[in-house]
């Protein structure tokens, strides 16, 4: 506050002095604001914000649903539009929760099978190596002693479970937070069901006829997939792409197995939160997305059956286009 006072005071004084010297020819260069600051901590005066307050009369209308465009693949033509709850795909980013989930997954993925033998597990006789006294050397109990070569390991790794726990609701929130993060950034591309990679007919025919060796097949796929994803700006140069399908699709999965530097393909059951955060974008088929959200909404729906209440399953995605009345007519 003191700084502001001083600033305005000095400004006023300067104005006065300028006004007093009317015949002055050389204009005084006012120092930039930053050098006029007082020593006191003061936030720089930025340009005035537009009115950030909301009128009392204006009703607060938070976003409750967000649209999801369903694309065809691989032409990426927008085909349909669905509406999802903002609690599914428009959650605020919570890095802490994502971190918890990724660490939880990492812990539970650890194999924990490393094991070194202790002195009691190393094979061999436990006879005293040499007499306690008189040899001139150090006393030795048994040859399995940890200080001896070939002996046991005193504090070596043992089989153990590294798994940690995370509340189900927190983990599910992390899933939807990860999806929301992708959605906001425009990195969640939803395709029609049956997402697969169409390979050229003549190539498949020749591969089936045995005209191509394994190396030639792989080289073709690498070139074809690389060019296709490159043209889509989805390839290696753009951070790779994760394709998620309900079940394994042979062409897609084999192709991305071969051309792994361009992207990766995962079945729904193999997907983790970490997978959702890794590559440049997520391409997921419509039903897989629905199933994914359905499996991870324990914090939104109750699993407890109430005796006098009929549990109503709310639809996850309500179609907006093609217009529902047109579809029902057809």
């Amino acid at each position: 506050m003191a700084g502001k006072w001083m600033g305005s005071l000095s400004e006023a004084m300067r104005g006065l002095s300028l006004a007093a010297q009317t015949c002055r020819t050389v204009p005084v260069r006012t120092a930039p604001l930053i050098s006029r600051r007082s020593m006191a901590t003061e936030s720089p005066i930025s340009k005035p914000l537009s009115n950030i307050t909301r009128s009392v009369t204006e009703e607060w209308q938070p976003i409750t649903s967000v649209p999801v465009t369903i694309h065809s693949f691989p032409s990426l033509e927008p085909r349909a539009l669905e509406s999802y709850s903002a609690k599914h795909l428009y959650l605020p980013l919570r890095r802490d929760i994502l971190h918890l989930a990724v660490v939880f997954e990492g812990d539970n993925t650890r194999q924990g099978t490393a094991q070194a033998k202790t002195r009691w597990e190393v094979a061999g006789s436990h006879r005293k190596v040499r007499p306690q006294k008189g040899s001139g050397n150090a006393r030795v109990g048994s040859k399995q002693s940890p200080i001896r070569r070939g002996g046991g390991k005193s504090h070596g790794p043992r089989n153990r479970d590294f798994g940690t726990k995370l509340n189900r609701k927190v983990y599910d929130l992390a899933w939807r937070t990860a999806l929301s993060y992708r959605y906001r950034r425009g990195e969640l591309i939803v395709t029609e069901d049956g997402l697969d990679l169409p390979l050229p007919e003549d190539f498949l025919q020749q591969a089936q006829d045995g005209l191509l060796t394994r190396e030639l097949e792989d080289a073709f796929i690498q070139k074809y997939v690389g060019e296709m994803l490159g043209a889509m700006q989805w390839g290696k140069a753009d951070g790779r792409t994760t394709f998620i399908t309900g079940e394994e699709r042979t062409n897609l999965f084999t192709s991305l197995d071969v051309a792994g530097e361009e992207g990766t393909a995962l079945e729904l059951e193999d997907v983790d939160v970490k997978d959702l955060l890794e590559t440049g974008r997520i391409v997921i088929e419509r039903s897989a997305l629905k199933e994914m959200i359905k499996q991870h909404r324990s914090d939104l729906v109750t699993s407890i059956a109430m005796p006098n209440k009929v549990m109503k399953e709310k639809t996850l995605a309500s179609p907006l286009y093609p217009f529902p009345h047109e579809v029902s007519e057809a």
Partner: protein
């Protein structure tokens, strides 16, 4: 280490693009390459090991439909070393001495083998339009068309046809689509004479042969503007203007249009390439003014239509997450015109010209290496010449290892 089964066969593959819509099916009969690598006489002079591909009397492989050419299936087994009669033959003593002949490395890099027409074709032009004026015109046009399609167009087939059509003649953006903005708090996009707009859309959708005659009557269309009707964009509130009045007008034409349109879609694909010239777009931008940019955009379906049209016209894909935040026509234009984010900090600095005023600051796109520093003072050429003269490696250490004494001193293993 392959855990997955091999690719599905062509016959059983349900999705192996039996009708490859994403692939340009131009007549693609690639020229059969003459891959005569070497004659037998040449190959005998310097014998290579094992199976070198020769095409002595090779059966001509049938040219596959799209020009994909598999290698010849004719293999010749090399002559055993003890049966070679050529006195010039010197057996290799070392694997490094062996010559490589033929082989299938880079087989598909040859366009004659790979064929043509395998490039990906997306929805919209391959190259994104970056000219701001064209983008603005495209946005305006997309919004007008989207508004009409979302409210007036009852035939799904015709709607899809319009959504997937290219630029076509500039009917909508030139004269017919005159709009006016109403400065009221919670509304509104456009005041459009709907009948005129529908007529314009239909005219736009007419086959190319009929277009020219139609275009002549544009001036009449322009003068015919009279009734301005308000269109509420906010989705939840349908305005008093019902579609019933237009239904009679539009549906007759739509029925006829649907048939024409479906036949015309293929033709339209060629037209997508033809984006309007920038000068024309700039003139249109001036004509359109800026008032329309303040219009509210809330209806998700309308935005979906607009985004689809924009993708078709300009190649810009607007993701849903961005569309949620776009609430006015102006912000839509802004989103399109905004240049893509630079991938590297150095590019960002260069684009924004941040340190231009500071004479002692230079920004490099990569690490400044010792070689770069030598180059800056003009010493590198001399150093390189001297190194070459002494037979020393110019870059790196070649096979010369560190001094062995270093290992003794540090005790490193």
């Amino acid at each position: 280490m392959r855990h997955l089964p091999r690719l599905r066969g062509a016959v059983s593959a349900s999705l192996c693009c039996s009708s490859p819509s994403h692939i340009r099916t131009t007549a693609a009969v690639a020229a059969v390459a003459t891959t005569s690598s070497s004659t037998t006489a040449q190959s005998l002079q310097r014998r290579t090991l094992s199976t070198s591909v020769t095409d002595v009397g090779a059966v001509e492989v049938q040219t596959p439909p799209q020009g994909l050419k598999p290698p010849s299936q004719k293999w010749q087994v090399a002559v055993r070393p003890d049966q070679i009669t050529d006195p010039a033959y010197v057996p290799a003593q070392d694997g490094l001495e062996l010559e490589e002949d033929g082989g299938l490395d880079g087989w598909w890099e040859n366009p004659a083998n790979y064929g043509v027409g395998k490039e990906w074709v997306g929805f919209g032009p391959a190259e994104k339009v970056t000219d701001p004026a064209i983008l603005e015109v495209a946005t305006y046009r997309a919004l007008v068309e989207a508004l009409l399609l979302s409210q007036n167009w009852s035939d799904p087939v015709a709607r899809e046809a319009v959504l997937s059509s290219g630029w076509g003649p500039m009917v909508l953006t030139t004269t017919a689509a005159k709009t006016k903005f109403h400065n009221r708090p919670k509304s509104t996009l456009l005041c459009v004479d709907r009948e005129e707009m529908v007529a314009a859309l239909q005219k736009h959708a007419l086959p190319a042969t009929e277009r020219e005659t139609q275009l002549e009557s544009e001036e009449q269309v322009e003068t015919a503007f009279a009734a301005e009707q308000e269109v509420e964009v906010n989705g939840e509130a349908e305005t008093a203007v019902t579609t019933e009045q237009q239904a009679g007008v539009t549906e007759e034409a739509e029925a006829a249009l649907a048939a024409e349109k479906t036949a015309e879609v293929k033709e339209e694909d060629d037209l997508t390439e033809g984006v309007i010239p920038a000068e024309q777009a700039q003139a249109l931008v001036k004509e359109l003014g800026h008032e329309w940019k303040q219009a509210n955009l809330r209806n998700p379906v309308l935005k979906f239509f607009a985004a689809k049209r924009i993708q078709k016209l300009t190649g810009h894909k607007i993701p849903d997450g961005k569309l949620v935040a776009i609430t006015t026509a102006g912000s839509l234009v802004k989103e399109l015109v905004k240049p893509p984010k630079a991938k590297k900090l150095a590019e960002e600095i260069e684009n924004k010209e941040i340190f231009q005023s500071l004479p002692n600051v230079k920004v490099f796109p990569r690490r400044v290496t010792p070689i770069d520093k030598e180059k800056m003072v003009g010493r590198w050429k001399v150093i390189r010449e001297e190194l070459e003269r002494r037979g020393l490696p110019v870059i790196g250490t070649a096979n010369i290892d560190n001094a062995i004494e270093k290992k003794w001193v540090t005790g490193a293993k």
